[in-house]
């Protein structure tokens, strides 16, 4: 079901949003790596089974405006230590360490009778924190890139669109030239989130300035730093944001192909990104003439194989090219000669959704 142009995209957004709003309850089970390890997928299946037993529609296709409960698997909430996590909307309740045995109570008490189950909630001494936002761990967080993680279905392009997904791309395609996009990013002072801190807009405008038959957008998902998993969270929890970011970068620089380099230790991220790319292709948000414009762009996933050094830009590109991931000394910078010696913009996973 192709989305042919921007007005169609806007229509779909309204449709999906309305469908989402019609869901009187949403049950969001965390499907990030940590919670999956704790058995969250079993929790999901059990909840779904119990809900359907009651004759309520659990998984809703947002194309149709059916009544039902929205059951979804989200990306990582970040509170892996207390997983599996289940979030209930609209109240915003967060249940911790949910086991399969708890599911019946959740369905009965919270979904049917609208009552919170305090024993599953976060406690500090005597104080019970009912909603996710009130928990001290979350209260001080101002999530920007990770905004959607934990809140939307990580495997649904429809939900992404309902939450204004791809609208930035639409705006860019409709109202701005590539130069204006670069200018806007420069003005925003967005700097490389992988640690390099190079102004992203400046990088994009440099790639734009080099004429070439082929240009590439590369997304560095080789997060090797021990203890860090924000890139993983984004790739698992909000894969479309990465795709959208890359597509905007492609428009701004004149690139026609993209690569997301995901380290092998993140199989779930690979899975979610693959599905997201397939979904995007199926509706025409990747491929030829995106949204009816001249922009043609497609993305491939390149997997790492266990080398920390491949997080470095030139080694990463060597790895994509199928060589040993050894860093290369460069005569010309990557923006002029990068992947296969073509102008390349290479950004961290976190930079692109921004």
């Amino acid at each position: 079901m192709l989305i042919h142009n921007i007005s169609e995209l806007k229509e779909k957004k309204e449709l999906y949003k309305a469908s989402l709003d019609k869901q009187y309850k949403k049950v969001i089970v965390c499907g990030g790596t940590g919670c999956v390890a704790g058995g969250s997928l079993n929790v999901y299946e059990e909840l779904k089974r119990l809900v359907e037993e009651k004759g309520i529609l659990a998984e809703v296709d947002l194309e149709k405006e059916d009544q039902g409960i929205g059951m979804k698997k989200s990306g990582c909430h970040g509170f892996c230590e207390r997983g599996p996590l289940v979030r209930i909307e609209p109240e915003g309740y967060l249940y911790l360490k949910v086991k399969v045995e708890d599911c019946e109570e959740i369905v009965e008490e919270t979904l049917v009778n609208n009552k919170p189950i305090e024993r599953l909630m976060y406690k500090d001494g005597d104080k019970v924190y009912q909603t996710q936002e009130s928990i001290p761990f979350y209260k001080r967080q101002n999530r920007i890139v990770l905004e959607h993680c934990g809140h939307i279905d990580a495997e649904s392009i429809q939900e992404y669109i309902a939450h204004d997904g791809y609208m930035a791309l639409a705006k860019v395609l409709e109202e701005m030239t590539p130069e204006e996009v670069c200018e806007e990013v420069i003005k925003s002072n967005l700097r490389g989130r992988g640690g390099g801190g190079y102004p992203a807009g400046k990088k994009w405008s440099q790639v734009l300035s080099f004429p070439s038959d082929m240009k590439y957008v590369v997304c560095n998902g080789d997060e090797g730093d021990p203890g860090a998993f924000m890139d993983r969270s984004i790739m698992e929890g909000d894969p479309h944001s990465v795709i959208e970011g890359m597509t905007i970068a492609a428009y701004a620089t004149g690139a026609s192909e993209g690569y997301i380099y995901v380290r092998a230790e993140y199989p779930l991220a690979v899975k979610r990104l693959t599905k997201a790319i397939e979904e995007a292709r199926a509706v025409g948000l990747l491929g030829k003439n995106i949204l009816g414009t001249d922009l043609s762009f497609d993305i491939h996933i390149s997997q790492g194989a266990g080398a920390f050094v491949c997080g470095e830009g030139s080694a990463l590109m060597a790895s994509i090219e199928g060589e040993r991931g050894m860093p290369r000394v460069k005569t010309k910078r990557t923006v002029e000669e990068g992947l296969w010696r073509k102008p390349t913009v290479i950004n961290n996973v976190e930079t692109l959704p921004m």
Binding site: A307, V309, R324, M326, R328, V329, K330, T331, K332
Partner: protein, 564 residues
């Protein structure tokens, strides 16, 4: 185009591809291990670092010169860093220099001396990689390897073979053949270019000088030596002479002093090759079969074809190489003699060692060529014997196999074989006309050279290629139907045999050196009385006499005898 400021002096640059070349042009020899103008950039050794006026340090091999750039080459930091790098490399290196093949010509040793490394603070790493002695041509000692990657890139980018590559990672990284096998068991073609470019003794020629001594000390044998053309324009480099200086007379004298009984010229055998291959070519032209004809005198090329393009083996000439023709003819000549005849060939080529050992070049278990000594090894022998090479009086080759035409001599350069064969085929044309055609088109260092000439009204297309990566490209073009030729000369080594794996390599071998050596051969050709192979009266009488019905001495049946 522009001007840089190097150590306070203005230096103009015009087209140099990096700062390193500009600095060298300015008269400062910046040290490098991993930089070669003919190979891709690696930039790993960091020896070529320079400092700009802001204190930024960068590798000069990978930086483009910019107008107004201001750099320094001798700041205190640079000096400290260079020493540190050398110390680290040496701490990881088998420092048995006095017993090393490469001592005196080793770049690591040279730079350590140049930078006065007196104390290696990092101790000595206990490395025990086994020495790989499996090849007939080279010996690998990974304990001396500094991981510059030059051999890897030479083998892959210039030769298109890729027998060596980096393997493993981090502190386990090393240069290895496929699956860490012994190199003799891989697709290595024995060309020895890796040894030429290696800055240390990690890859060396298989030294068989002791076998030479054993043979010449045995007075019951007749020791015969044949000297290849390319040897005579490069051996002098080991004795203070320039590339291209002709030392053939001294070589004969030296060999006699070392105990060789008869010294002959491989160029004579090259004349035989010209006649035999010329005949073969004319026959193929008539039948139209198995064209294009590929030359067969280069054993590196033949081995490359056997492994990579077995389908074209029928196109390769059935003629033996000059070395092998000489061996079989000499042994036949002396077959009834009571003294056992031993043939030693002095070659610029490491692959010749493997060629001489091949099954099809033996008769009843006895090799046609018993031992191959490279130019480098000959220098070792001369020095060991204490012969003062530069002071030797010229002597001439022995007869009857010592008289060669200029055509035979130029076999040592790329384009030489083609020129010799075509000169012979155009024998009815006045000399200066065919030289004109060929001089312009087949001489020189271009990767692929083409020429067109006429035989009896038929247009003949000729190609000359050197460096096997270029040969691979050419063959693929022919297979795709993009190019068509009748005869193709292939030399594995860039520049041809003058830059072979067995030649002296105490200076970086680039096209300048190759050209100088080749020009030495062309000078000999110019001064030759006999220009064309069939004008050589000894060749004529040999073909009328001994070789009349003995084509088996000059040809080899590749499929039947080699099993490929």
């Amino acid at each position: 185009m522009g001007t840089m400021i190097i150590d306070g002096r203005k230096v103009e640059f015009n087209g140099e591809k990096n700062v390193l070349e500009v600095v060298r042009k300015a008269g400062i020899e910046l040290p490098t291990f991993c930089y070669h103008s003919e190979l891709s950039l690696y930039g790993a050794c960091r020896m070529c670092i320079v400092e700009d006026k802001n204190g930024k340090i960068f590798t000069s091999c990978s930086t483009l010169p910019k107008d107004g750039m201001e750099i320094y080459t001798q700041t205190p930091r640079l000096q400290r860093y260079r020493k540190n790098i050398l110390e680290l490399l040496l701490s990881n290196h088998d420092r048995d220099c006095t017993a090393c093949e490469r001592t005196g010509a080793c770049e690591l040793e040279r730079l350590a001396t140049r930078f006065s490394i007196r104390d290696i603070r990092f101790g000595e790493l206990d490395r025990k990689h086994p020495i790989d002695d499996s090849s007939l041509a080279i010996v690998r000692n990974p304990n001396k390897c500094i991981l510059c990657g030059d051999c890897v890139r030479m083998c892959e980018e210039i030769q298109g073979v890729g027998a060596l590559s980096f393997a493993y990672r981090g502190s386990h990284m090393k240069v290895a053949p496929a699956f860490d096998k012994a190199i003799g068991e891989t697709n290595c073609i024995d060309c020895g270019q890796c040894r030429v470019i290696c800055p240390t003794g990690a890859i060396a020629i298989k030294n068989e000088t002791d076998k030479f001594w054993n043979l010449v000390h045995d007075k019951s044998k007749r020791i015969i030596a044949q000297v290849a053309p390319a040897v005579r324009v490069a051996l002098g480099e080991e004795f203070g002479l320039e590339p291209g200086d002709i030392t053939v007379g001294k070589i004969v004298a030296a060999l006699k002093m070392l105990g060789v009984d008869e010294v002959y010229d491989t160029a004579f055998a090259a004349d035989m090759t010209v006649i035999a291959e010329g005949e073969e070519f004319v026959e193929r032209l008539t039948t139209g079969e198995n064209l294009p004809l590929f030359t067969s005198c280069c054993p590196g090329w033949v081995k490359f074809a056997e492994t990579r393009f077995p389908e074209i083996l029928d196109n390769i000439s059935s003629c033996k190489s000059p070395q092998q023709m000489f061996g079989s003819v000499i042994k036949e000549y002396y077959k009834d003699d009571e003294k056992e005849t031993v043939v030693i060939s002095i070659m610029p080529c490491t692959a010749k060692k493997a060629e001489a050992a091949r099954k099809e070049f033996q008769k009843d278990g006895v090799r046609d060529v018993d031992l191959v000594i490279t130019t480098q090894e000959l220098a070792i022998l001369i020095k060991e014997a204490g012969i003062i090479f530069e002071k030797l009086e010229d002597e001439s080759f022995d007869m009857p196999f010592g008289l060669a035409s200029g055509s035979g001599v130029i076999f040592g350069s790329t384009g030489g074989v083609a020129e010799a064969v075509v000169t012979r085929l155009l024998k009815d044309k006045p000399n200066h006309i065919c030289k004109e055609v060929l001089f312009k088109n087949v001489r020189g260092m271009d990767n692929i050279k083409e020429a067109v000439f006429n035989i009896d009204g038929k247009e003949i297309k000729l190609a000359v290629v050197h460096g096997l990566k270029n040969a691979e490209k050419l063959i693929n073009k022919i297979k795709a139907g993009d190019k068509e030729y009748h005869i193709i000369e292939v030399m594995a080594c860039p520049g041809g045999c003058v830059a072979g794996g067995g030649q002296p390599a105490s200076m970086p071998i680039d096209n300048e050196v190759r050209k100088k050596r080749a020009q030495g051969l062309y000078r000999i050709d110019r001064a030759s009385y006999i220009k064309s192979s069939e004008q050589n009266p000894l060749i004529v009488s040999l073909f009328e006499d001994m070789l009349k019905d003995r084509h088996d001495l000059l040809h080899v049946n590749r499929e039947k005898e080699t099993g490929y």
